[in-house]
């Protein structure tokens, strides 16, 4: 259903000047992919450290809210870089992504991660009165969602 509704968006992206430009260039896709990877490192790097802190495996002497304040801008920059470069890559070969089941799995993980990040994760990492159970739950969910997004994304290129 959602897939059907999104078809016009993919068609439009494919015909857009951006999509055409990336598709026509020999090097653009590879370079965009490198920046996509930098974005992933920023987001997964901050989510990993935060998750380890939430389960008490590192930096116990640093408050969760304090660590969150230090990391949140890096995860935001990473997230924005990933989305921008991701849209550029999809625009250049929309058919390939639209027809790839792995791409839709990736999108499922990504948007669930996105919503989780700005709701529960945001709430939990800004508070210092969260119990270990909720902290561990948040840590596991955020790691599964973001690393899962990365793994499905990598798999698109192989299958």
């Amino acid at each position: 259903m959602i897939k059907q509704a999104l078809l016009p968006l993919f068609t439009w992206l494919g015909h857009s000047a951006l999509g055409q430009a990336v598709a026509d260039s020999k090097y653009a896709f590879a370079i965009i992919e490198v920046f996509h990877l930098f974005g992933i490192i920023l987001l997964l790097g901050s989510a990993s450290l935060m998750a380890l802190r939430l389960v008490g495996l590192t930096m116990r002497d640093v408050k969760v809210s304090e660590l969150s304040r230090q990391l949140r801008w890096y995860s935001l920059v990473g997230l924005l870089t990933m989305i921008t470069t991701g849209v550029m890559m999809v625009s250049s070969i929309p058919n390939k992504y639209y027809l790839s089941n792995l791409f839709w799995w990736k999108m499922g993980f990504f948007w669930t991660g996105f919503v989780f990040h700005f709701t529960i994760y945001r709430k939990v990492t800004r508070s210092d009165r969260i119990g270990l159970a909720l902290g561990a739950f948040t840590a596991i969910v955020v790691v599964v969602l973001w690393y899962g997004t990365g793994a499905f994304g990598r798999a698109i290129g192989f299958f």
Partner: protein, 179 residues
């Protein structure tokens, strides 16, 4: 006499062809073929490689940013180091093991690849930077451990480290496009 005929170039050519032969032989071993021609092994190892890079470079980054005086400045440098050290080592070990397995499968194509050589050079420079930091810069650590903005050579170590990892990640990704 042409430079191409000089003994220097002859030596380079002999080393080059020796290493290329070894890499072709390595890729053609049963193990290399098994990884390369499989449906699942190669993608899974590649996935582990990328995810472990996100983990290790992601962790190294927080220490480098502390050295630069950009992030977590209210914490001592040694505190940030202790916080990320084992996770960074774990991620990096996984990246090296998975990377060697990938190299095993595609050694013949990786050896002559320009980006593979840039990646290797980046890794060597990152290693030298760590070694120099550890053997020389770190000796005075008690003097700047709690400085929000450490001295120039400490910030330089952080800057060089980030630069090296950016080169390693970029060259590593571009390798696969030029195989």
């Amino acid at each position: 006499m042409l430079f191409a005929d000089s003994s220097v170039m002859q030596f380079y050519e002999s080393v080059n062809s020796y290493l290329l032969d070894k890499c072709v032989a390595l890729a053609n071993t049963a193990g290399g073929t098994f990884i390369r021609e499989s449906t699942w092994q190669f993608p899974v190892i590649e996935g582990v490689h990328v995810m472990s890079i996100a983990m290790s470079v992601g962790m190294i980054l927080w220490f480098d940013l502390r050295l630069l005086g950009v992030s977590m400045t209210s914490r001592r440098v040694s505190q940030v180091f202790n916080g990320v050290y084992w996770w960074m080592v774990g991620g990096f070990t996984a990246a090296v093991i998975s990377g060697l397995l990938l190299f095993w499968a595609e050694a013949d194509r990786a050896y002559p690849n320009l980006f593979a050589r840039i990646k290797l050079a980046g890794l060597l420079l990152a290693g030298l930077n760590i070694l120099y930091f550890h053997l020389s810069t770190q000796r005075t650590q008690p003097q700047w451990d709690s400085d929000p903005k450490p001295p120039f050579r400490v910030r330089m170590a952080g800057f060089l480290s980030i630069t090296c990892w950016v080169v390693v990640v970029a060259a590593g990704r571009l390798m696969a496009y030029t195989f």
